[in-house]
């Protein structure tokens, strides 16, 4: 029987009754914070919640209406901020369905709580002091980079804050510093593997032993493939910036799906059509309430992710339930190499470019191990004057406009009018040719 590592054994193996007690206490506090925000003040009052005392049990959570991404768009920038701005130590943001991003604020205690959850997650995988950690997720406004960074430092790993991209350099750094643990998207890690040997660095020259993989859905087959190819253990990670970022759920050494840290998050699985709760074991939409964040309280957030909770306990002895890998979305959001892209963001930008007619198509496929996004547009005949350079600069302009919204650079193809399929009504303009592994 392997030795199970814990960051906080007492909480991680607490009786269910104790966990629920903690949840209830923290939910009440969170309601108090939520009532300070424009977003929640009115809607809580409408269901008879005017103070935290009006929440008398965990079951009362169900009285509160769901929060959606659209709510966060409407309350941008500060409608969901519960503290004065000078108490906010960090701001993170992620894709919104339109040009307006989703913003999350963190007070000092919120950052500390978030970091602690990551420390717990990292230790659960068996990583610890002595491990050399190459953090290959994007830093900046994305939560993936800084989240794991501070968690890893708290545990005592040696952190290399390299961020994403520049494959040759990533491999060189892995060799030079004898990296043992990486945090990365599964597709990028596969891509890295495919590039080994090109500059004389082989797998045998590296010291990798663990990977934390997340930010994009992937199958058990993909995880096994990564483990076999790189001779490592790969641990699935789940999170979303609305609920902090990474550290909502993480796999332990058993690698049998991800423990949701239930003293910090109240997780519900609902029927996406009716909003009714579903029992453990049944697949539905993941709804999350963060009860350890004061600056940006978010209640019953509809993640649009589809998954189920395991009813049975885990061999590690943790009493926090396990969430399955994400099985799909209830909306049309795309994940391109770990980055969330909403087709509506693309549409918004395309419609603003006069040289491009209104017919377009979003095409996603794989180039090797990596996802590739191409936006195909039809040019507007009247604006074609015969100059190649004008068409080229139009293409570049479209790429720049899209990039300013979705943060990644799509490919852009110019097509003759009438050559793309015609879409009627709200028909999907997205053609996703990636294999459904």
């Amino acid at each position: 029987m392997m030795d199970i590592p814990f960051w906080n054994r007492e909480i991680e193996t607490a009786e269910r009754g104790r966990i629920e007690q903690i949840q209830f206490q923290r939910l009440q506090e969170t309601i108090g914070w939520a009532l300070k925000t424009n977003l929640y003040r009115k809607r809580l009052s409408q269901v008879g919640v005017n103070s935290s005392d009006d929440i008398k049990s965990l079951g009362d959570l169900r009285r509160i209406p769901f929060t959606t991404k659209d709510d966060l768009r409407v309350s941008f920038p500060k409608g969901h901020l519960a503290v004065p701005m000078n108490e906010v130590l960090r701001v993170h943001s992620s894709s919104g369905t339109t040009g307006i991003p989703t913003v999350i604020y963190y007070a000092r205690q919120d950052l500390d709580n978030w970091t602690d959850l990551l420390a717990r997650s990292i230790v659960a995988t068996g990583a610890g002091p002595g491990d050399i950690f190459q953090n290959m997720m994007t830093y900046g406004l994305f939560t993936g980079g800084l989240g794991l960074h501070y968690g890893a430092e708290r545990v005592g790993l040696t952190v290399i804050p390299i961020g994403g991209g520049n494959t040759k350099r990533q491999i060189q750094v892995m060799k030079d510093f004898r990296t043992t643990v990486v945090h990365v998207t599964p597709s990028y890690l596969l891509h890295i593997h495919s590039k080994l040997g090109e500059d004389g660095i082989e797998l045998k020259d590296l010291a990798l032993r663990k990977a934390f993989i997340g930010a994009e859905p992937h199958s058990e087959n993909t995880r096994r493939k990564l483990q076999d190819l790189l001779r490592i253990d790969a641990y699935n990670s789940y999170g979303l910036s609305e609920l902090n970022g990474p550290g909502v759920a993480f796999e332990c050494v058993c690698k049998k799906d991800m423990h949701v840290w239930e003293d910090a998050f109240i997780v519900e699985i609902i029927d996406p059509k009716t909003g009714e709760p579903l029992p453990d074991g049944q697949e539905g939409e993941v709804v999350l309430t963060n009860v350890v964040r004061r600056a940006t309280p978010i209640l019953r957030y509809r993640t649009r992710d589809l998954a189920f909770l395991h009813p049975q306990g885990c061999d590690c002895g943790r009493t926090h339930r396990r969430l399955s890998r994400i099985l799909g979305r209830t909306d049309d959001m795309l994940i391109i190499n770990g980055v969330n892209v909403f087709p509506s963001q693309i549409e918004e930008k395309i419609m603003k470019i006069p040289e491009v007619a209104t017919n377009y198509q979003i095409h996603v496929d794989k180039k090797g191990a990596l996802d590739r996004l191409t936006v195909k547009v039809e040019i507007y005949p009247k604006l074609f004057l015969g100059e190649v350079s004008k068409l080229e600069s139009l293409k570049h302009r479209i790429v720049e406009e899209l990039r300013s919204s979705i943060t990644i650079s799509p490919g852009v193809e110019l097509h003759e009018p009438g050559s793309l399929p015609v879409y009627e009504g709200k028909a999907k303009r997205v053609v996703d040719e990636r294999p459904k592994d």
Binding site: L385, G386, G418
Partner: protein, 143 residues
């Protein structure tokens, strides 16, 4: 005197160029000069024909993106150094050429080139002043 070139946008699709040429050919339109500017993802066909109006109508009716561009047909001494001598004059007078290509036929004993200028009117002034012979639209039709 300007002449008319037709520019056609060509998607990077197999047979697109053939589609244009067979359409024109099938309707009795004769190509006098042509060139293709290509990029990685699309091409622009530039063509001087004998029946410009009919040709562009035909192309547009068949879903091609086509438009007129003003170019000039210039006679160049048909000997080594002939083109260079013309280019020297144009360069000395700050006339900027965007692109050029050759005609299939000659008008006289000189070679005939299509030139697209950054500033067509200015170029024509210089050409006239320097007595470089420019072939008219009507003369092109008669080729």
């Amino acid at each position: 005197m300007k002449i008319t070139q037709i520019s056609v946008f060509l998607e990077n699709r197999k047979g697109r160029l053939y589609d244009v040429c067979s359409l024109l050919g099938g309707h009795g339109v004769n190509i006098r000069a042509l060139t293709i500017a290509e990029t990685e993802s699309f091409g622009v066909l530039r063509v001087v024909v004998d029946k410009s109006e009919a040709a562009i109508k035909l192309l547009r009716e068949n879903q091609f993106v086509a438009n007129f561009t003003d170019v000039v047909a210039i006679e160049v001494p048909d000997q080594p150094g002939g083109l260079a001598s013309i280019l020297k004059i144009l360069s000395e007078h700050d006339v900027n050429i965007e692109y050029m290509y050759g005609f299939v036929e000659k008008f006289s004993d000189k070679a005939l080139l299509v030139m697209r200028f950054e500033d067509t009117d200015f170029a024509q002034q210089i050409l006239a002043k320097q007595k470089i012979h420019v072939v008219t639209e009507k003369e092109i039709e008669g080729l």
